[in-house]
Symmetry: C2
Subunit: 370 residues, 2 copies
């Protein structure tokens, strides 16, 4: 992986310093991870204007006797700081000493107070804004990243599949959520990609429902949303089931509508498609069925080292999908007091020559009666 | 509780605006929670220069059909925003419209980019730095807060006690950690206060160990660190046990040293004691036993709505403890390759007239052989 990381840093260097005299100081944790791999919490990366990349951070031997892991020859030099020293100040100082004309920092991550302390600590240095340059680099994934997402999705499907084989009636949302998280870890996840949501009965179909002590009952809709984190990469699946016997007519109708909306959005995923086109595809199906106002602000979003990355698939989003961009497609409808349906998948945008969108989360989307 | 919150906001108003003409805009989530109670994620609070407190945020009906919960008469007015609007901009605009001469913002929380957008969005407004005024208010806890911490500690003791009654040999660190978190929730926690750490054998005694697939074996030291979150308040306990048969001599010796260090620090907790005195009390015991370098940068820290609050009990910390400040005392020693011991408690500083430090986490600190 270190060659991959070195390549990413070279691209960032070329962007930040077209004339070869501006160093970049990266502080946002997911961006640091993207550019160097796993790093100590709070570590800050200097991408030097002429090479000499270096990582600055704190290392507590009581916490991690192995120490910073970036000690291979190809990785950046690691500097361990004492006490409360801000690693960003150490990085800026190193850039200044190496002769950088200016230092580009992440103004969307550094706080006002930290930025001011930085300017005061290293006076005479010019500061510019790196902006979201690293986030833009992260938008399109390479095959290593997609492979990690694929494993995350396999783990997620397996954890969900096992739950479906167990007895659900009478168990609480909290317990089901904890069991799913345990199964994710059992199957090799680093941990959950986001807090697992289990929503039954009148809670079903809510996007961000936090599990309660409500128990699963016969006749309920049951919505589960979970995802594994594997090598830092996060995927997402959401499914809605009906509990016991046969579903009621309103349940079948609502499920069919959400399923149709989700399929329409999935089918709209293609290189060159506008973000808002994908969103519109789902919204139109729901609107035609009288559920136009039930959908939240987004139909889906990018995933990667964070669970909510660019792009956002929403009515006002500007931009077009590219190949190798992984996104979720996750419409849902909740009917207050009754419940609802959500169906979430993680897919990778691919051209039709490459077989069209690659579905990572393959658990069936038939309406299962459990 | 709303009277309590109103009182806190009044104190902040008096601090931020001694002349009655500066509004405060609070964006840091734990500070917002302290001043209004549970609020939607990302909500921003305006503490008006002349009253008229108001909360600004986004509300997704698909996520929470009930809507913002702050609708009682005593709470601040809640304004729900559309789209991507920054709630901080709405709060600053409202302050300007209400005639505030200046607006004090949390420069240690707002990013440079967000602060710039704020100044551009509401031109003509004067901005000042609120600094850590709310964090300072949060340092000393009232009896409601301490009551919540007490319940969190009871839940934590109960979860740990149940684990100790079960068979541990052969189970993995990951499974034990997940089981502890499930038990916390079973007993009424909102969730874990921080990621539960279970460390066995050569991992034992590490402060921030993340659970692995290593299984508990006969003769191991087993270190567990966990805590419940209850009504937002977080406590912490850490204990080290020895597995099976009788402990080895080195285990008994190491345990006794860490126990003595922990006791020394606990006994140093008193109103008026310097932060670094408490730290020194533990460090001196460990140094005398030849483990002076094994201790991490802090011996303990404040707890409350966050797990790591002020004060820090460290060699360089400046300040003195006051009554009703809850802190952890958590020294530890890890011997690379062999393992180690950590013992963490949460206590509330009390004067000797009030009975001295109040121990919240009461699980025994005898060396148990399980």
């Amino acid at each position: 992986m270190s060659e991959v990381h070195a390549g990413r840093r070279s691209r960032l260097r070329a962007h930040a310093s077209p004339n070869g005299d501006v160093a970049a100081v990266v502080s946002r944790p997911s961006n640091v991870r993207y550019l160097v791999g796993p790093a100590p919490a709070g570590a800050v990366l200097l991408v030097g204007h002429a090479g000499g990349d270096a990582l600055f951070g704190h290392w507590d031997p009581a916490e991690d006797p192995v120490g910073p892991r970036l000690t291979d020859d190809e990785g950046p030099r690691v500097t361990v700081l004492d006490g409360d020293a801000d690693p960003a100040q150490a990085a800026v100082r190193a850039a200044a000493e190496a002769g950088a004309r200016a230092v580009a920092v992440e103004e969307h991550h550094l706080t006002v107070a930290r930025h001011r302390a930085l300017r005061e600590a290293v006076p005479g240095t010019g500061f510019t804004d790196l902006g979201c340059a690293v986030e833009r680099q992260r938008l399109v994934k390479d095959e290593d990243e997609i492979a990690a997402l694929r494993v995350a999705a396999e783990i997620t499907d397996r954890a969900l599949g096992e739950l479906l084989e167990s007895i659900l009636v009478g168990r609480t949302e909290r317990h089901l959520a904890l069991e799913l998280e345990r199964r994710l870890v059992d199957h090799g996840a680093d941990g959950p990609a986001f807090p697992t949501s289990v929503a039954t009965g009148s809670h079903s179909g809510l996007a961000g429902h936090r599990p309660t002590d409500r128990r699963v009952e016969e006749g309920d809709f049951l919505t589960v949303r979970l995802g594994a984190r594997f090598r830092g990469y996060r995927c997402q699946i959401g499914r809605t089931f009906v509990i016991g016997t046969s579903p009621a007519d309103w349940q079948i109708e609502l499920y069919d509508v959400v399923f149709a909306a989700q399929r329409a959005a999935r089918e709209a995923l293609a290189p060159g498609a506008e973000y808002r086109e994908v969103d519109r595809a789902a919204r139109e199906v729901l609107s035609a069925a009288g559920h136009g106002t039930a959908l939240g602000p987004v139909t889906g979003h990018g995933v990667g080292l964070e669970i909510g990355e660019d792009p956002r698939l929403s009515p006002a989003a500007m931009g077009r999908l590219g190949p190798c961009v992984p996104v979720t497609v996750e419409p849902g409808v909740h009917l207050p007091g009754r419940g609802g349906v959500r169906i979430d998948d993680t897919l990778v945008v691919r051209s039709s020559a490459d077989g069209g969108p690659e579905l990572l989360t393959i658990t069936t989307k038939e309406l299962l009666a459990l």
